[in-house]
Amino acid sequence: MAIILKEVDAVCIGVGFTGSIAARELTKAGLKVVGLERGANRSTREDFALPNVRDDLKYAVRQELFQDTQLETVSLRHTPGETALPIRRLGSFLPGVGVGGAGAHWNGVTWRLLPTDHNLRTHLESRYGKNAISAEMTIEDFPVSYDELEPYYDRFEKLLGVSGKAGNLRGQKIDGGNVFEGPRQNEYPNKPLAMSMAGAIMEKAARELGYHPFRAPAANMSAAYTNPEGVTLGACEYCGHCERFGCEANAKSSPQSCILPVLLADDRFELRTHAYVKELLYDRQGKKVKAVRYVDTRSGEEYEQPAGLVVLGAYVFNNNLLMMQAGIGEQYDPVTGKGALGRNYCYQVSGGGATVFFEDKIINPFMAAGASFGMNIDDFNGDNFDHSGLGFFGGAWISAGTSNGRPIQTRPVPPGTPRWGRDWKKATAKWYNHAFNIGASCCNYAHRENYLDLDPTYRDALGRPLVRMTYNFQENDYKVREYMGGVLARIARAMNPTIMSARAIPRGNYNVVPYQSTHNTGGTITGTNPKTSVVNRYLQAWQADNLFVMGASVFPQNASYNPTGVVGALAYYAAEAITTRYIKSPGPLVHA
């Protein structure tokens, strides 16, 4: 029997970026908030200290900071007719665990969506015609427009201290920034990072081709920065250990480095680690989550924590799992198209890549910051280019540069080099410091057959079904990728390298083994229609008034961009609706 605890004002499930932001805003509004984190506490001083924080094997390869698949994973099948099998070892994506969540071990790329990513369906239909979007492509508008979300993007960027250069300041286009971005009210809070050799080569080539190179927005501090919470972040050391690692210098924005110091000092907040949330106790009649049941992983004891308000800020899969188990919303069925829960699961399509080798240039790949440390172009992103007659929609952000030179995983060699032996050694020694990649991160638009539900066979350590992913790349994805492959090859040639390899990725199934991105999205999507979405524009569940779902699980589809900037902005947007409206008058914030 679970031990029933005294009711609190609010519970945040997960203490990563969204949980921390929600808890901070709610405590500021006077609420007593409990943060339930399934993993252990993690602090910069204890857990991310030099020299061991540079242990490549431990963190990058043996996956120290990621979700432990011995306890919990997801299963995958490529089509609805197949039997799903569990992803037994993490590869393709790397969800986090512990205080800070994936926000502790991300690279720091902090995008805003393009305005046309926000109103995607409306935009494409108006530009290309009502029938341009196939019935299989179940893309939707975000119910919140770019202009509405702009102040919240700004707020999140200021929390993080994002380094970058505006390309559109209140409508004025600025060369050197991203001229395709939506209008920003303010410049980035921190100046751009130092220029890398790879970035300089990319900038020159992109300009020669008539493109618009710019620096990716980076939550890696180009200079020490004090955010509006009064927390000071250190300057980036360009150590090349961002993604998969914590930052010893608090120079990468994370819950630890940006917000937890103030949250943990607030008496209205209580952090409970090792609190593994097992289920939401749902009152279907009252349309409320009455309590959250969790297991203390140190004792096995179960607790029931009643709460007036629940913020579900776990990773995408757990957000879905907890909703599905509790039956908050109707499970999506790809055959009938009915039900919204689990609908529009999306990912990121990695657009192949090109590697360029320069005999006479020194790259120093190990001197790097995480956020695509180089130069980007957005000329082929979203609907920034005309898609008439192309046979696909969407695009990619393209970047050239290095994020690390850690040699267990980063050792580019020219095409045709054997993988081992004397010739491999020669090529590796010769080219390690003379090469870098050009990559394309492609959008992944929702497809009728890509969705999440509960696995009928495999279970997690708490005895719950695994989330089952039915997912594969679709025609649109292959076409975007093939198109971008051509762009990458063109850029590579313009760099005039000694050697180049432009790899065309053959069409094939989604593969869980090689790392692609931790940009899983959807399943509990935001929308205007409760029949096709799970949460409203304020991320409030249509079927449970006191439940707010945060994170990329609310994305109707995935743009090409890394999701964190959007996740943070939406968290602030929802938190404001809670504190200014919901707590004064609990009930649905949108009447469908």
Binding site: D56, R62, A194, N433, N511
Partner: protein, 245 residues
């Protein structure tokens, strides 16, 4: 001792003092290689460097497995002017320790059944943990080389070792259960880990792997250097975790 390799396990005589045992294993390898009508240049670099590799006591690998690993990693990363051989850099020791530890025992590996046959895009789907996988893989690799070349892998000439590994890489060596390519890929991966990981794990001795490519290791604080070394070779010698501990 020379003949004691026959059968693959006859050396597991616990009455033989360990140093003697290791020397015997080395002599056995060298003698067999010498008995092979291979050119002198093909004399196994493994045998030449096994002394340093063997200097570390083993945690989990059997003598036969260890001999295989030394032979395999030294074929993957042979000694030349760029670095000593992998085993001389401690890579065999690294692999022994990894397989004996959490990774080898299946840490971060979901192991609930059922375990049906799966397409490769679904990733690793076997019941075996890495330690068990390497045991099964080494057994099969040796069994295949015995069938093909008449000897265990570690006693083949350098050329034959290269050919044998290539056959496994190309999936041309029939293994029961999992494919020889899958085994080779795992072997290649853990060898590279051992050659390039921080030396605290027993491999990358003297930071030989880092020196080979010019990776400076720690502390990796380049705030000043990032502009100073723009398009310039970073010339400071590498340092590792131990240098800061």
């Amino acid at each position: 001792m020379t003949g004691s390799y026959e059968g693959g396990n006859a050396m597991a005589d616990e009455t033989i003092p360990r140093r003697e045992f290791l020397k015997g294993a080395m002599v056995g390898t060298a003698a067999l290689a010498a008995g092979n009508p291979a050119p002198a240049a093909a004399q196994t670099p493994a045998a030449a460097t096994a002394a340093s590799a063997d200097a570390e006591p083993l945690l989990t690998l059997t003598a036969t497995e260890h001999a295989f690993i030394v032979g395999a990693v030294d074929t993957i990363i042979p000694a030349d002017e760029l670095s000593p051989s992998a085993s001389a850099c401690g890579v065999a020791t690294f692999i022994d320790r990894q397989l004996a530890g959490a990774y080898g025992m299946g840490a971060r590996l979901y192991r609930q059944g059922p375990f049906p046959k799966a397409k490769p895009e679904l990733g690793y789907q076997l019941t075996l943990n890495p330690r068990e996988f390497f045991r099964a893989g080494i057994e099969q690799a040796n069994s295949w080389t015995r069938k093909t070349y008449g000897k265990d892998f570690d006693r083949l000439s350098v050329q034959d070792r290269e050919a044998a590994l290539k056959a496994m890489e190309d999936n041309k060596a029939p293994f029961a259960g999992f494919s020889s390519r899958m085994f080779f890929d795992a072997l290649l991966q853990i060898t590279m880990e051992g050659f390039f990981a921080d030396p605290i794990y027993g491999g990358n001795r003297d930071m030989a792997g880092w020196k080979m490519v010019g990776y400076p290791g720690l502390p990796a604080t380049y705030r000043e250097d990032i502009t100073k070394y723009f398009n310039k070779k970073y010339d400071k010698p590498p340092r590792s975790i131990a240098d800061f501990s």
